[in-house]
Symmetry: C2
Subunit: 191 residues, 2 copies
């Protein structure tokens, strides 16, 4: 039952046979994290990808006493750090739970087996990577083309639930403004 | 011979059989563009991906009388707009040649055949998308974590040849500063 939303997320991209479904249940291992716990610490080599069943995480980097959050992963989304995971290099970024969380994790080796052994495994990997690429490209181009007000509106559309779930501090970081500026933007954007 | 660097780029990711090599030569069609020509115009639906044999392109958006360049593709790199290409929606961005250029283009349909029919076609698509994702993620996180000086240094490392090939105007846009600020940053960074 724990694996139901994960299987639905995979089936969004590819067909999964009953035998493959059994492997998903075997390879994706339950883990619970308390609020504040780290899924990945800077300097560690990321060796697994997580699927969020419950909770919300942020990817961030601490620098000059500030936490710079650039990604939020919550229910039915994958969390990970491809920059560390793919080349097996120490992570620059951290991934931390912002609420008590339940996740399902797959190891690097089992993910490679999934790509190789599932009938549409490689296709699944391609479609997920393409989706991630387009999402992050949109976030990148908004820095080039949009005002802070437009970026905040984009955040509110992309993550309608997060306003109530996480401190404004992290939202200001994501939008790319100081917390005081975010307060002003929010005040102006209230209808 | 025109396809040699393309085949090397593909073989960087996967093995290519002689029969598959023939398909690469058939499916990737030569095109020449003059400086200033568009590979993709805003509003068009992107139906092909290009591989640059010679020349340099930028992906950008015109807004408020300014061109916001966020990507440069040159020799041995792919150009395209996945945001339009994957869902077959009208492009928000444009892709334009900044020098006279020679490219090889593959249509959406032939790329899907490549994914399906090459022995490691899906794997190729996955590895390319993963690479694109990590590259763009690095560019994104630099906006969160780095100063304009550090972003300029990153540009100079990533694109050492482009300083001499394209107007400073585009470099300033990529770095995310006004052209005057770029002049100051460059003056300070000269050893």
């Amino acid at each position: 039952m724990l694996h139901d939303t994960l299987l639905a997320a995979i089936r969004h991209f590819i067909a999964v046979s009953p035998a493959e479904e059994d492997l998903v249940r075997e390879w994706f291992v339950p883990e619970t994290l308390a609020k504040g716990d780290f899924f990945l610490r800077p300097g560690e080599v990321s060796r697994k990808i997580g699927f969020v069943v419950r909770g919300v995480f942020h990817n961030f980097r601490s620098r000059d006493g500030q936490e710079h959050s650039y990604y939020f992963g919550r229910e039915q989304e994958f969390i990970g750090d491809y920059e560390s995971f793919l080349p097996a290099q120490p992570a620059v970024h951290a991934i931390q739970a912002l609420e008590d969380a339940q996740i399902l994790t797959i190891s690097y080796d089992n993910l490679q087996r999934l790509y190789r052994e599932f009938r549409e495994g490689e296709k699944f990997g391609r479609l997920v990577a393409e989706q991630l690429f387009v999402d992050i490209l949109r976030q990148l181009t908004s820095f080039y083309e949009e005002t802070p007000e437009e970026r905040y509106a984009r955040f509110a559309r992309t993550y309608p639930d997060l306003q109530q779930r996480i401190p404004q501090y992290y939202i200001a970081s994501y939008v790319g403004v100081k917390p005081q500026s975010l307060s002003r933007i929010r005040a102006r954007s209230v209808r």
